[in-house]
Symmetry: C2
Subunit: 334 residues, 2 copies
DNA sequence: TTGTACGCGTTATCAA
DNA sequence: TTGATAACGCGTACAA
């Protein structure tokens, strides 16, 4: 059932059918009704591919993310998809993993499907080595690229992110008033990973101190493994009053470590998570966590994109504050 | 840059270009190289819409899920997307929410985009009232429909699921050897929700007992709210030796209730979760949970679909056992 | 091995 | 307000 069949049954030309289909041009009410009736009775649906061919778009946006089963990324994908749909865009989802080569490959795959834009969800897309970001810059020559939780200056690239650096500086500074036995436990040096670490360092610098190497611990493992690695360090004599983390999983690991080491939380050890995710409230006491306003950023990212589509002037970067959700694992925060 | 430009620059016809593009028909090595060179230097990419129009497919599968930020559904979506990509299919993601009307609307939206198949992720898609499933049956007249964690008998509908009923019967039966003070705490009566409840009931029936109404508690709230509602019941004098739940969030709520009520776990109260998800291991003691093999089912669902595409004979339903992951919140399970 | 010509189902332009 | 017709870019019989 195509547009010719409809035009024939309705006794009009395909041009007229197309007109009522798209509702822009003027058609007499009588013929419009006639055509609508025929469409109804035949259950006609226009062919999306032909439409795409003619218009050069199928109203589709590609979402790239490393791993949509990760709680944070899953939420981001969800918010993005919801927001896109409000504007009648479909979401083509592509999980890339963390390898740059693979990311580039999949990005180009989506591009070859003629998506109208790309949204890169997650700070892992922007690497410190600018060479490795080149594929993003090139993609932006084809379609607008929006990066969630990452910053990259290039034409046609837009970013929406949280000021991770400032909130980490803030939190660290608060603790530094009473102690500098602070461990910063982080998973990776993605874009926001680097910002967070910089915030911690800056707080130390502002206090006229320097963050000792051994108080920065990079660890990318499960909750159980995190607990283990902290226990080992503890056994070797290391002591901390505060553990800051770059995500809530690590904080849960620290929480379990505290329990295993017999340390009272927050009296003997304070713990701060990041992302304010669901698992932060699964422990007792519940974990104080930094809210990076993922939903707000995600929706804003889409909103920015729509403005770009509309040809409006859009800032290349939008940033929101991180805010502290104070719960039971801290006593020294405001 | 289209196929005509390439053919012109290479001094051949578009047919030949198309042939090297698709690599099926025979082309002399010399002209193939020539054409490839031109493609390379011009950065030519065939137009996916035109291709879709001609072939009637863009190798896209629609994934419907109520809420891709839900941990379980997010994992399902992830596994499905990964598996689809192995077979060179793209995933069009659509989050529908839990309203049947909306689900039907979005399903038809995806259909209008000419997806090659639909995958319905999550047991909430199959309702008890068959009337409400009619839109799925109709969709299956257009394209194959695969349901993950739901069962629906209809032409061109395929299901991959876990035998929730049997494992719940099994677990309940084990506890019934020593006590019948068992509370079954569940969130909703989706397809698998109904199966789980039936399993609990059957175990009671097999033991010659009947599950009292007050030992079935339907509750759809947050962890904190779950804790509250159990505390209220406890305050009213209700006592349980075991709390079985339909998902790990509810189990965490029960866990927090136990702590608040001063009940030792598992000595005074045993708790069983469902889904074997990440949050089951965030508490202390960690929560015994039923593994419904979501990854296996998800990948199998896609595999089934590919076989349907290939015209192979495929069973309309595939089922796997649920298995118990025994952890610290139980003592009476094997 | 290669080329010609048509079909796929729209949208849009230009006349009428 | 309508209709005829040319794009859109590709795949593929059929012919050479």
């Amino acid at each position: 059932m195509n547009i010719y069949d409809i035009s024939e049954k309705a006794g009009v030309s395909i041009a007229t059918v197309s007109r009522v289909l798209n509702g822009n041009s003027r058609v007499s009410e009588k013929t419009r009704q006639k055509i609508l009736a025929v469409m109804e009775e035949t259950g006609y649906q226009p062919n999306a591919f032909a439409r795409g061919l003619g218009l050069g778009t199928m109203n589709t946006v590609g979402i790239l993310c490393a791993d949509s089963s990760d709680a944070v990324l899953a939420s981001a994908v969800y918010y993005i998809e919801q927001e896109l749909r409000k504007y009648q865009y479909d979401a083509l989802l592509c999980c890339t993993g963390y390898d740059t080569q693979v990311k580039a490959k999949y990005l180009n795959l989506l591009l070859s499907k003629r998506v109208d834009a790309l949204i890169l969800a997650g700070s892992n897309f922007v690497e410190a080595d600018q060479e490795k970001n080149q594929y993003i810059v090139e993609a932006a020559r084809e379609v607008p690229v929006v990066i969630l939780n990452g910053s990259l200056k290039a034409p046609n690239v837009y970013c929406a992110l949280c000021d991770d650096r400032e909130i980490m500086r803030n939190v660290t500074a608060q603790f530094l008033k009473t102690t500098d036995q602070i461990l910063y436990l982080f998973r990776s040096l993605t874009y926001s990973g680097r910002q967070k670490a910089a915030g911690v360092r800056q707080a130390f610098a502002d206090a006229g101190k320097e963050l000792p190497e051994r108080q920065m611990l990079q660890f990318n493992g499960s909750i159980e493994e995190t607990r283990q690695v902290l226990l080992e360090r503890f056994a070797q004599g290391e002591r901390w009053d505060v553990i800051l983390t770059s995500d809530d999983e690590l904080a849960v690991g620290a929480h379990k470590f505290a329990r295993a080491a017999g340390l009272a939380v927050p009296e003997e050890l304070q713990i701060v998570g990041y992302n304010n995710s669901r698992i932060a409230i699964c422990c007792e006491p519940e974990i104080t966590s930094i809210d990076n306003h993922l939903e707000y950023c995600s929706r804003s990212a889409v909103a920015m994109l729509m403005q770009v589509f509309d040809g409006e002037a859009v800032p290349s970067c939008m940033s929101v504050s991180g805010d502290i959700m104070i719960r039971g694992t801290t006593s020294g925060l405001v």
